[in-house]
């Protein structure tokens, strides 16, 4: 199974993982990664915008690539858009597999590729107003791991 969602409202990863695990009863294990809005630095709000005609299909294709590359029973990719506060989840990725290594590697692979396939822009609000978050060189190094 494949569960890919762009969410405009907040979500709770715990119950989502419980449901995902139940939906893959034949798997030996479930790996996951939850990304959160990091507190600190005086950030009051994070806003994430995207370009819908590209983002949704790109996320579906990425999930499918993970399923082709690893031996998975199921994959989940949820990503927030819109306004978030520190501590709120931005992204939840999970993989259910017969073998542990497939599940963990699939989560690693999905997280490394998510930013390059989906078009997300973030800006942060501090006391002095909004500021866009710059691109990051590390992202290219993350992708090179899988080539």
């Amino acid at each position: 199974m494949r569960d890919v969602r762009l969410l405009a409202e907040t979500f709770v990863p715990g119950p989502a993982l419980t449901d995902f695990t139940r939906a893959n009863p034949d798997s030996g294990g479930v790996a996951s990664f939850t990304g959160l809005v990091r507190p600190g630095g005086g950030v009051a709000e994070l806003e994430l915008t995207h370009y819908a005609p590209l983002t949704s299909s790109a996320m579906e294709e990425l999930a499918e690539r993970a399923q082709l590359r690893f031996d998975l029973d199921g994959v989940l990719v949820w990503h927030r858009i819109g306004s978030m506060v520190p501590g709120e989840p931005i992204v939840l990725v999970a993989a259910a597999a017969r073998h542990r290594r497939d599940a963990i590697q699939a989560v690693d692979f999905l997280m490394d590729h998510l930013k390059s396939v989906a078009w997300f822009w973030k800006r942060e609000r501090r006391s002095d107003g909004w500021r866009w978050i710059e691109p990051r060189g590390q992202d290219h190094a993350d992708l090179a791991r899988w080539q």
């Binding site: 915008t49 370009y51 005609p53 590209l54 930013k115 390059s116 989906a118 078009w119 997300f120 822009w121 973030k122 800006r123 866009w132 978050i133 710059e134 691109p135 990051r136 060189g137 590390q138 992202d139």
Partner: protein
């Protein structure tokens, strides 16, 4: 008409998230229709262009027809 979207930080530079331009719209007509700072940004390799839901491999070949949506895509945010 062609709808042109300025995504992410480009909207601040362009002064708008969206403009309407006459169809057909090619690359030179697009550059002529935006302010100088935006045109400079658009010329940079790292800014990609999508037309009718597909990212162009060569943005200079842009040729948007009536009703098309053109999206101007700066590099995505890190972190």
């Amino acid at each position: 008409m062609v709808t042109v979207l300025f995504l992410g930080p480009l909207s601040d530079i362009a002064g708008a998230a969206e403009i309407e331009l006459p169809a057909p719209l090619d690359w030179d007509a697009l550059l002529a229709a935006v302010n100088l700072n935006t045109a400079d940004q658009l010329r940079e390799d790292r800014v990609r262009v999508a037309c009718a839901g597909r990212v162009l491999s060569d943005k200079l070949a842009l040729n948007a027809a009536d009703g098309d949506e053109v999206a101007l895509l700066p590099p995505v945010s890190g972190g």
